[in-house]
Every structure is written in structure tokens, then in C-alpha cells.
């Protein structure tokens, strides 16, 4: 068991640049780590405060109904569902794609323990979200109900177990996808396509569930029934924590821990075979020289970057999920009118808001699809190739920006056209819907590059550590979202002012920011790349 902890600790130390921050002697690096930690802490506090506020508001409604247990039930179910959804697409990457596989597997450690350590890495990452949601909810529950001492004990014990089953369920899907893909020659592409198919099926499935909107409106017992039917473990959880039933507590713990142990053992038996299938490249060794196509250096860099992008399923899944969501939602809106949608989610003037804030919402999806914030870090040990080549660093950086725009702009255009049809937009609104997200696409791509140059992570053993856990990715996502929340807030606060005017102002401002960032890349890019 100690080996599971040792391996997990090793993986966690390399996450978020933790080890580097702990051991660096350079003042500049320390200052950077301190600044980043402060930023993360501020973000955590903001999320915790928002989570507390949200729980408190919900508690007011549940208090009137005399069903405070529903607060914990809903929060537990939400945490589990979000944990499940966010784990499905990263499970395969965390389990199978890491460079020190040979080193780890050659150590005198059971394969089951290696698998367990990989699942625990997912667990620790998801625990962050669980604590952010459950702890404020627990505090609100304690304030309102004033429960006995057993509540606190049971609450904390179950807090550790909430994520286990969703992670196992998601990992079973992720591992199954990998297992199927490993049997084909083009295993990576198959894995990517299958994961996308599963995610879209889950999304469509969840839309179907939301269709049962009346149950939501009924509240009370109807809502409780629905949650417990959707996620039976929530009923056991509520029984254990709110009614202090030891039997339910034990059942909850045993179900969670046992499923973890069984899964680790079962996957342990197939682990090497799946890994070999996924990582073995098919070599035909029958190449005969053919005429070659010559390209300009920029075009060559662009093609190389595009191939790099599609070679990594975790990179593609993490950065294109926003675009897939946008496309699915745009298509869905063709079949559900904004008015009907407004009735369903009880926002009467939804269609009015939608046409005003649609460009900002589309831009949010664009910002979530930033490929550049990890593009430099992903060069890793290969950086010497670009650094020793006779091409300007600006071309290298712009080729990465161009790939990001290739991923975002076509989907933005298609989705925007669908939205124009479904939202019956006028020509100025349509124009804004096309222009604003396009500006944000440029903004987010250049912002990602600049932040990645400032916060590079070139030493890594797993792409997951770069694509999901690196400081640059977190920082650019945070700044990207803030850059959208401000205009969104202004649009909503100044509802009496012409929305098109506000959006035009935002657009002009963002164009100026983009020009400034482009100039920064042109003037400082060479120096920043050379310093890497």
C-alpha cells in the first residue's frame, strides 16, 4: 500500500509545478510561484464564497419546504455528476499516457498498485471540486439545522468517498474506450473518436433528462425522488449524513472503496496489454521514395503543429470540448425555440437576453478552447528542433496561434449561422455574433501563447500534467473567463443601454488588446523563446 502512496506523491509533486516551486533557489522563480499561489488562493476563495452563497440561497427554499437534506443530496449528486463528466475524457490520458511508464513498470511494484496510483491522481484532482462544493454546503446545512456531533464526523468521512464511484464509472468508460482502440492500428484516432462519441451521447442523454422539467418545477418530494432515482447513492449518503445511520454510512464507504479495489485489480490484469496496444506504432518498413511537397517555413510549422494537436487525444479532448458543446447547443436550439427554453428554465425574457449576450456566450466557449496555453510546454524535449532552426520565433508563435484559430473559427462560424437562424437575429446582431467571438478567438490564442511563454512547463512525463494541470493553462483560462465576465456583467447591469452599443465597445477594446498582444509577440517573442 505504501507504494501506491509513493507513486501518487511523485505524480502530484510534478503537477502544477509544485516541486519546482518548492525547490527553486532563484528569486524570480520563487516570486512567480508566490504570485501564482496567491492568484490560485484568491480564485479558490472566490469560488468558495460563490459556492457558499449558492448553497445559502438554495437552503432558504429547502428550509421552507422542511427538506434541508435535499441541499446535501443535490450538492452531492451535482459533485458526482460533474466529477464523472470531467473524468471520462481525461481517464485514458492519466491511466495510460505517461513517459515514465517503462521506469514505473520496471520497479518491484504490483501492476494493481500502479493502476491504483493513477486512479488516485484522478481522485485528488476531483477532490478539489468536491471540497469546493460540499464544504460550503455542509457549513450552510450545519448553520440551518444545527446537527449533532455525528453529522460532522459522518460528513467528513463521506466527503472522502463521494468521488470514488463517479471516478470508477468514468474510468471504466475511459479504459474500455482505450481497450477497444488498442486493438486497432490507428488506436489513437479510434480512441479520440470513441471518446467524442461517448461524450456527445452523454450530453444528448442529459438534455433528454432535462426535458423532464416539470419534475424540477414541482420541487419537494418530486425533486427528492428524481435525485435519488437518478443517483441512488445520494439516498444512501443523505441517510448516513443527515439521519446518522451507521448502516448507510458503512454501505456508502464499502461500495465506494470496494469498487475502487475491484476496478484496480481487474484493470491491473489487462493494463500492460492495453498500454502496449495504445503505444505500439505500426511499422510497415516498406517506404519507397516519392516526390516531396515543399512548403514555406510558416506553412511547415503550421502543418507540424496541426499534426501535433491531433496526435494527442488528451490535448484534443481538453481543448475542443468547448467547441463541441457550442455546436451541440447551437443544433439543439434549432429544435427548441428560445421562448420555450425560457419557459423551461423560468427566465421569461430569455430570448431578449440571448440575442444580446449570445456573442459573449459563444466567446466563452471559444475561450475554453485555447490550445496555445499549453502549445509551448508541449514542445518539451523537442524544443531544440525549433530553437536551432533558421526561422523567426514570431513565425513559430504565430503558427501555434493559427492552429488555435483553425480549431475555433470554423465551428464558431457554423454555430453562429445556426444561432442566427434559431434566434431570428437582425443583421447588426448577426454581425456582432460573428465578429465578437472571432476577436475573442484571436485574443484567447495570443493570450495563451504569451502566458505559456511566461509560465512554461517543459519537463513533464505525462501530457495531462501540461494540458490540464499546468499553471499556464489555469492562468489563461482564469484571465479568459474574467475578460468575458466583465462585459457580460456590464451588459446585464446596463440592460437599459443599447446592447449592440456595449458589444461594439467591447469589440473595439478587444481589438486594441489583440493589436497590443500581437506587437508584444513581435517585439518580445524572440527573446522570450530564447530564454526557454
Amino acid at each position: 500500500m505504501i507504494n501506491i502512496w509513493r507513486l501518487t506523491k511523485l505524480q502530484l509533486l510534478s503537477s502544477f509545478g509544485l516541486n519546482k516551486a518548492l525547490h527553486t533557489k532563484e528569486v524570480k522563480e520563487r516570486r512567480k510561484a508566490l504570485l501564482l499561489s496567491t492568484g490560485i488562493l484568491a480564485g479558490v476563495l472566490m469560488i468558495a464564497a460563490a459556492s457558499f452563497g449558492y448553497s445559502f440561497m438554495m437552503a432558504l427554499a429547502f428550509e421552507q419546504m422542511g427538506r434541508m437534506d435535499l441541499l446535501l443530496a443535490i450538492m452531492m449528486a451535482v459533485t458526482s455528476l460533474v466529477g464523472f463528466f470531467t473524468t471520462v475524457y481525461k481517464a485514458s490520458g492519466v491511466l495510460f499516457s505517461y513517459r515514465d511508464y517503462d521506469l514505473v513498470m520496471s520497479l518491484p511494484i504490483k501492476t494493481t498498485h500502479v493502476v491504483a496510483s493513477r486512479i488516485l491522481q484522478l481522485y485528488v484532482l476531483n477532490m478539489f471540486f468536491t471540497v469546493m462544493v460540499m464544504l460550503p454546503a455542509g457549513v450552510v446545512y450545519a448553520i440551518k439545522v444545527n446537527p449533532g456531533a455525528l453529522f460532522y464526523l459522518f460528513f467528513l468521512i463521506t466527503l472522502l468517498c463521494i468521488q470514488l464511484l463517479p471516478i470508477i464509472a468514468a474510468t471504466i468508460i475511459g479504459a474500455s474506450v482505450s481497450w477497444i482502440a488498442s486493438r486497432f492500428k490507428a488506436s489513437r484516432m479510434i480512441s479520440l473518436v470513441l471518446t467524442f462519441a461517448v461524450m456527445i451521447a452523454l450530453m444528448v442523454g442529459s438534455f433528454g433528462m432535462n426535458g423532464n422539467g416539470q419534475a424540477l418545477a414541482d420541487m419537494g418530494t418530486g425533486l427528492a425522488d428524481m435525485i435519488f432515482k437518478l443517483y441512488p447513492l445520494a439516498a444512501i449518503y443523505v441517510d448516513a449524513v443527515c439521519s446518522y445511520r451507521v448502516g448507510s454510512l458503512l454501505l456508502f464507504i464499502v461500495l465506494s472503496v470496494l469498487s475502487f479495489m475491484i476496478f484496480a485489480t481487474v484493470l491491473g490484469t489487462k493494463y500492460k496489454a492495453i498500454h502496449t496496444g495504445l503505444t505500439t506504432s505500426h511499422a510497415s518498413s516498406k517506404y519507397i521514395m516519392k516526390p516531396l511537397e515543399a512548403s514555406s517555413p510558416f506553412r511547415a510549422l503550421y502543418k507540424k503543429e496541426l499534426r501535433r494537436y491531433f496526435s494527442s487525444s488528451i490535448y484534443v479532448l481538453n481543448t475542443s470540448m468547448g467547441m463541441i458543446l457550442l455546436l451541440v447547443m447551437s443544433v439543439a436550439l434549432l429544435f427548441v425555440s428560445p421562448g420555450k427554453l425560457g419557459e423551461l428554465i423560468e427566465i421569461p425574457q430569455l430570448s431578449h437576453y440571448l440575442s444580446t449576450v449570445a456573442p459573449i456566450i459563444v466567446s466563452l466557449f471559444v475561450t475554453l478552447s485555447c490550445t496555445t496555453s499549453s502549445a509551448i510546454s508541449l514542445e518539451g524535449n523537442h524544443l531544440w528542433i525549433l530553437k536551432s532552426s533558421p526561422v523567426s520565433k514570431q513565425s513559430i508563435l504565430l503558427s501555434k496561434v493559427a492552429v488555435n484559430l483553425t480549431i475555433t473559427l470554423p465551428i464558431v462560424v457554423v454555430s453562429d449561422v445556426l444561432l442566427m437562424i434559431s434566434l431570428h437575429m437582425g443583421w447588426i446582431e448577426s454581425l456582432l455574433l460573428l465578429v465578437i467571438p472571432s476577436i475573442y478567438a484571436c485574443y484567447s490564442a495570443m493570450l495563451g501563447i504569451i502566458i505559456n511563454l511566461k509560465l512554461p512547463k517543459l519537463e513533464w512525463t505525462s501530457e495531462v500534467a501540461v494540458v490540464k494541470q499546468s499553471a499556464a493553462v489555469l492562468a489563461s483560462m482564469f484571465i479568459g473567463i474574467i475578460s468575458l465576465l466583465i462585459p457580460l456583467g456590464i451588459s446585464l447591469l446596463l440592460a437599459h443601454v443599447n446592447g449592440k452599443l456595449i458589444l461594439s465597445g467591447v469589440g473595439m477594446l478587444m481589438i486594441a488588446v489583440c493589436i497590443a498582444m500581437f506587437r508584444y509577440m513581435q517585439t518580445k517573442g524572440e527573446r522570450l523563446v530564447q530564454k526557454l
Partner: protein, 237 residues
């Protein structure tokens, strides 16, 4: 072809990896760069090819400072690192074509030279396979071919013989001699002193970041073997 003047590189914490290094590699030279582990060989080589930033001193390639015009310097230089980490997601031929594009090699030249060198290193049949399927030696061969297809004036190699089979090592030595007879220059580090002694017309020995001997091979080693001279110089503090 290569002039290193007062090159000094300090790492974080102020420790000098290389201190006031001066060296000239002329056209036609095969210049061996030897020293124990951590002596400063790779640091010097990485600075020469423009991969490593440095503050003190200057490095000129064909009369152009790498600090002032790095792109022009790199266009004349080819570099093969000690551990060729190549793009695993590309096939061998895609990688070679990518490098040819970056160095603006004409279509005719790239087709001819890729065929010439990949045949010489017996890797042509594997060029359609993903680099991820290559062995260390095959990656090394691919890195060497990618360095040769743009006809560099200066070839810089860090431990080039590690991982090569005897036939490929012999082929590389033949190509190095051929390149130099055509007016190019070669600067390479090695721990294989026999190879350095036989192949190089000039030798530099580095210890603790400082050059302790350099010049024509015969002058450096005198009547002794290069191994004896090296061990004596390294052991003498």
C-alpha cells in the same frame, strides 16, 4: 567558420558552467571537443547552435554574430544533440521534409539528398513509419540525415556516435571527412578518444568550464596517445 570569443555562461546561482572560452574552427576542420561529464561541452555546443542564451562573450558563424543575427547563423549550421528527441507524431519522411522546409531546401535537392543519405544509413524503407516506432539508433540516423540535407557550412554534433551501429558510425565518419573536404567545418564532442584521435585534425580539451588544451591534434597529444594526455590533464589540478 566558427569563432568563439570570451564565451562565459553562468547558470542560476552564479556558478560558471563555461568561463572565458576562446576557440576558432576553420573551414575544413574536424574539431574534437573532449572533457569529462559536466565539463561544459554541451553548454558550449548549445550556445554555438543558438539553443542556449548567453550574456558574456560572442559566437560568430561565418563572420555573423549569433546574438545579432541568429536566423542567418542557424541557416548555415546543423546540430545533432546527444539525445535526439524528435517528433514522435511524425513519420520519418514527414520530419525530414519539415526540416527541409524550415531550411528552404529546394524540392530537387531535398529529394536527392534524402535518398542519398537514407540509403547510406539503410533507413529508406523505414521513412514511412512513425518516429515513435524507431529505435534510439534509428532516431540518431534520422537526426543525422536531417542535419545533412541542407548542406550545412558548420556541423555541430554532441556525442554523435552514441547509439549508432558500427556500420552507421563508419558511414558518419566517412561523411564527416567528405563534408570537410568540400569546405565545411565540423565541431563535435565525444568521449570516444580513439575516434577523436583518428578523425580530428584539431582537438580542444575542456575541464571545469575552461579550455586546458587546444590546437592541432599532433601538437596536443605529442608523442603520447590522446587518452594518456587527456587523463593526465584531467587528473592534474
Amino acid at each position: 567558420m566558427l569563432t568563439i570569443t570570451h564565451f562565459t555562461k553562468s547558470y542560476k546561482g552564479g556558478k560558471k558552467a563555461v568561463n572565458d572560452l576562446n576557440l576558432v574552427v576553420g573551414r575544413g576542420d574536424i574539431y574534437g571537443f573532449i572533457g569529462h561529464n559536466g565539463a561544459g561541452k554541451t553548454t558550449t555546443i548549445r550556445a554555438v547552435v543558438g539553443v542556449l542564451d548567453f550574456e558574456e562573450g560572442d559566437i560568430e558563424i561565418d563572420g555573423v554574430s549569433i546574438k545579432k543575427d541568429p536566423v542567418a547563423c542557424k541557416a548555415k549550421t546543423a546540430y545533432i544533440p546527444d539525445n535526439p528527441d524528435l517528433y514522435d507524431h511524425l513519420t520519418g519522411i514527414q520530419y525530414l521534409n519539415f526540416i527541409a522546409d524550415l531550411f528552404s531546401v529546394s524540392k530537387a535537392d531535398r529529394e536527392r539528398l534524402i535518398k542519398k543519405y537514407s540509403d547510406a544509413f539503410q533507413i529508406t524503407a523505414n521513412l514511412g513509419d512513425m518516429i515513435s516506432s524507431y529505435s534510439h539508433g534509428m532516431k540518431q540516423k534520422l537526426a543525422i540525415i536531417s542535419a545533412l540535407i541542407h548542406k550545412p557550412k558548420l556541423l555541430v554534433l554532441d556525442e554523435p556516435f552514441v547509439g549508432l551501429d558500427p556500420k552507421a558510425a563508419h558511414m558518419l565518419k566517412t561523411i564527416m571527412v567528405e563534408l570537410c573536404s568540400n569546405g565545411s567545418a565540423i565541431f563535435f564532442s565525444t568521449h570516444v578518444l580513439d575516434v577523436a584521435e583518428k578523425l580530428c585534425n584539431k582537438i580542444a580539451i575542456i575541464k571545469g568550464g575552461q579550455l586546458i588544451a587546444h590546437g592541432r591534434t599532433e601538437e596536443v597529444k605529442g608523442k603520447n596517445s590522446l587518452e594518456d594526455v587527456f587523463l593526465e590533464l584531467i587528473d592534474n589540478d
